[in-house]
C-alpha cells in the first residue's frame, strides 16, 4: 500500500516537472503564432488571448507576402539542403564502406583524418574558403553552399556509417562475391539497403544545421536570388522591427514549415538518435 503511494507520488512529481518544462519549451512559439493572426491593437492589449473573430487580422501576412520573395528563399533552402544531403550520404557511405570493408595500408590513418572534421568547425576556415570561392567564381551561387555543407557533413557521416557497416554480415557479402557480383554491386545492392536506418540518422543530423545556418549564406551567397530562408527572414525581419504584425507573421511563416517537417519525421528522428548516435 505504502509502496504504491510513493510510486504514484513520484510519477505525479515527474509529470509536473516534465509538463512545466514542456510549457517553457513551447510557450514562446505559441505566443508568436497566435499573435500573428491578431490586429495590432489586440497584440498589445491582450497578448495571451487566442485569435478570435473580434481581434482577427491577417494584415501581417499580406504585408510579408507582398514584400519578400519567401517562395524563392524557401526553394533555395530546399535545393541546398537536398543536394548537400544527397552528396553527404552518397560520398559518406562510399568512404565508410571502403574503411570498414577492406584492409589496406593507411586505413586507420585515413579514418582519423576524416574524423578530424568532427572536432574542428569548418567555420574557422571561412577566410580561406571565401578566397577559394572568389577565385573559382562561385560567390553568390548555390553551388558554393552545397560544396561547403557537403564537406561539413562528411566527417560525422563517415564516422557513424562505418560503425554501422561493420555490423553487416560478411557471409552475405561473400555470397555475393561468389555469385560474381562486382564490389560496386555489393555496395549498392546489398550493403546500402541494410544500413538504411543509419542513413536516416545521419540525414537528420546533417539536415538541421544546414537548414538553419546563417553564417555561410551571409558570407558566400547573400544576393537576392540565392538567399536561403534563414538569411531571408533575418534580413526581412530586420527591416520591419517596428511593424509588429509583419514581424510576427514572418516568424510564423519561418517556423511552420520546419515544425510540420519535424512532426512528420519526429518518430524516425527519435528512433535514429536512440538507436545509433551514441553507440
Amino acid at each position: 500500500m505504502a509502496k504504491t503511494r510513493t510510486h504514484a507520488g513520484r510519477s505525479i512529481a515527474a509529470h509536473a516537472i516534465l509538463l512545466t518544462y514542456t510549457l517553457i519549451a513551447l510557450f514562446p512559439v505559441f505566443v508568436i503564432v497566435i499573435n500573428s493572426f491578431k490586429s495590432r491593437r489586440a497584440i498589445f492589449a491582450e497578448p495571451l488571448m487566442p485569435p478570435m473573430p473580434g481581434n482577427w487580422d491577417l494584415v501581417g501576412y499580406t504585408t510579408v507576402l507582398e514584400q519578400g520573395d519567401f517562395f524563392q528563399y524557401f526553394l533555395n533552402s530546399m535545393t541546398v539542403t537536398v543536394a548537400s544531403l544527397f552528396f553527404v550520404l552518397l560520398f559518406g557511405a562510399m568512404a565508410a564502406f571502403a574503411l570498414s570493408e577492406y584492409r589496406f595500408r593507411g586505413n586507420l590513418l585515413m579514418g582519423l583524418y576524416l574524423a578530424l572534421g568532427i572536432m574542428i568547425p569548418i567555420r574557422l576556415g571561412t577566410v580561406a574558403i571565401l578566397e577559394l570561392m572568389v577565385s573559382a567564381g562561385l560567390v553568390n551561387t548555390l553551388t558554393a553552399l552545397i560544396l561547403v555543407y557537403t564537406a561539413q557533413g562528411l566527417p560525422l557521416a563517415v564516422f557513424i556509417l562505418s560503425e554501422f557497416m561493420r555490423s553487416v554480415s560478411d557471409d552475405l557479402k561473400n555470397a555475393g562475391r561468389i555469385d560474381g557480383l562486382s564490389e560496386y554491386r555489393i555496395f549498392f545492392t546489398l550493403v546500402l539497403p541494410l544500413v538504411r536506418p543509419a542513413m536516416a540518422t545521419v540525414a537528420v543530423f546533417t539536415m538541421i544545421p544546414i537548414w538553419n545556418d546563417l553564417w555561410f549564406p551571409l558570407i558566400l551567397a547573400p544576393s537576392e536570388e540565392t538567399k536561403t530562408i534563414t538569411l531571408g527572414s533575418q534580413v526581412f525581419i530586420g527591416q520591419f522591427v517596428t511593424n509588429w504584425n509583419a514581424v510576427l507573421s514572418a516568424l510564423s511563416l519561418a517556423i511552420v514549415p520546419v515544425l510540420v517537417l519535424y512532426l512528420i519525421f519526429s518518430r524516425q528522428l527519435i528512433r535514429g538518435i536512440t538507436a545509433g548516435a551514441v553507440k
Binding site: M119, R123, L124, A128, T150, L214, I273
Partner: protein, 305 residues
C-alpha cells in the same frame, strides 16, 4: 602474397569523392587560414610577419582589450551552458526514462522542438518576448507578483550575456536530453533489477547505479557543448547585431571574428587579423579537445555488458 594481388582500384573509387571534397573545402582552407595569420599588408604587398599578428592581438591595447573581453564572455557563455543546460538535460532524460511513464513520446517531441528552430527565429522570438514595449515578460511576472524583478535584460550590460546564454540553453537542452536518454535506455534490465533486489530505487538508484554508467555520455556532451559554444555566432548576431551590444558586453569570439574580418561601420575589414583570431579559436578548441581526450576520457571507466 600481397604482390600477387591485383591493385584494388575500387577502394580508391569508394574513397576518392569524400576525401577530395573534404580536403579541398575543409582541410586546405583551414590550413590556409592558419597560414594567412602569419602575413600582413605592407602598403599593397602581402608580407610575412611571423607571429606579429598574434603579438598585436594579445598585447596591443587597441586589439587585446576586445580579444580578452570576447574570450572571457565566451568562457562565461560556456560556464552557463555547463551549469544549466546539461543538468537540466540529465534531469529531463532521467525522468523520461522511468519505465512506467505515460506520454513520454509527447514530452520528448515537445521539448526537442526549440532545437530544430533556427537561431534567427529563436533570437527574434525571445527579443519580442523580453521586449519592454510588448510587455509579455513583465505582464507574466506581474501575474505572480514579481513585476519589480523585470528589467530590459537584453539591453543591460550586466545581464545581456547571461540572458543570451540562457536563451541558447532553452534552444539546445534537447540535445543532452536525447543523448543521455539514449544512454539510459541502453543500460541492461538485469543491472537495474539487481539494484532493486538490493533495495536501491528512485534517486539513490540513479546516483549510485545509472550515473556512473552514463558518465562517458556526459563527457561527450561536455565536449560537444565546448566546441559548439566557442564556435557560436548566430544567436548573438541575430539578437544584438555584429556590434554585440550593449557596449560589446555580449561580444564572443565568433562575433569578434566576423567584425574583424568583414569590418563594420567605419572600421575596414582586415583578413589577416581575422585569420589570426580564427587561428586563436582553432588553438583554444584544439587545447580543449586534447584536455578532454587525454585528461578526462582516458580516466573514465567504461563498463561492458
Amino acid at each position: 602474397m600481397a604482390s600477387r594481388r591485383p591493385v584494388r582500384w575500387h577502394i580508391g573509387v569508394f574513397l576518392a569523392p569524400a576525401v577530395l571534397v573534404y580536403t579541398a573545402i575543409m582541410i586546405i582552407p583551414l590550413f590556409g587560414t592558419l597560414n594567412l595569420s602569419l602575413y600582413n599588408l605592407d602598403g599593397q604587398n602581402r608580407i610575412f610577419v611571423g607571429l606579429a599578428n598574434f603579438a598585436t592581438l594579445f598585447g596591443d591595447p587597441r586589439w587585446s582589450g576586445a580579444f580578452w573581453n570576447a574570450l572571457w564572455n565566451n568562457c562565461w557563455f560556456f560556464i552557463i551552458h555547463m551549469l544549466v543546460q546539461n543538468p537540466i538535460g540529465i534531469l529531463l532524460a532521467a525522468l523520461l526514462s522511468s519505465p512506467r511513464l505515460r506520454m513520454a513520446a509527447f514530452y520528448r517531441t515537445a521539448i526537442f522542438i526549440p532545437t530544430i528552430l533556427s537561431f534567427v527565429i529563436v533570437g527574434f522570438v525571445w527579443k519580442l518576448i523580453l521586449s519592454p514595449i510588448w510587455g509579455i515578460a513583465p505582464g507574466m511576472l506581474g501575474a505572480v507578483g514579481l513585476q519589480s524583478l523585470f528589467a530590459p535584460w537584453l539591453g543591460k550590460e550586466e545581464y545581456a550575456l547571461t540572458t543570451l546564454a540562457l536563451i541558447s540553453v532553452w534552444q539546445f537542452v534537447g540535445i543532452p536530453m536525447m543523448l543521455i536518454y539514449a544512454a539510459l535506455l541502453s543500460i541492461p534490465d538485469d543491472v537495474i533489477e539487481a539494484a532493486e533486489m538490493d533495495g536501491l530505487t528512485g534517486w539513490s538508484q540513479f546516483w549510485k547505479i545509472k550515473l556512473p554508467l552514463i558518465l562517458p555520455s556526459i563527457g561527450i556532451i561536455s565536449i560537444l557543448t565546448f566546441v559548439g559554444n566557442f564556435n557560436a555566432f548566430d544567436l548573438i548576431y541575430v539578437a544584438q547585431g555584429a556590434l554585440a551590444g550593449p557596449d560589446f558586453s555580449t561580444d564572443i569570439l565568433g562575433t569578434f571574428l566576423y567584425r574583424t574580418f568583414f569590418g563594420f561601420q567605419l572600421q575596414l575589414g582586415d583578413p589577416h587579423m581575422g585569420a589570426a583570431i580564427a587561428t586563436a579559436m582553432f588553438g583554444i578548441i584544439l587545447v580543449g579537445v586534447c584536455i578532454y581526450l587525454f585528461g578526462i576520457q582516458t580516466r573514465l571507466r567504461r563498463y561492458q555488458f
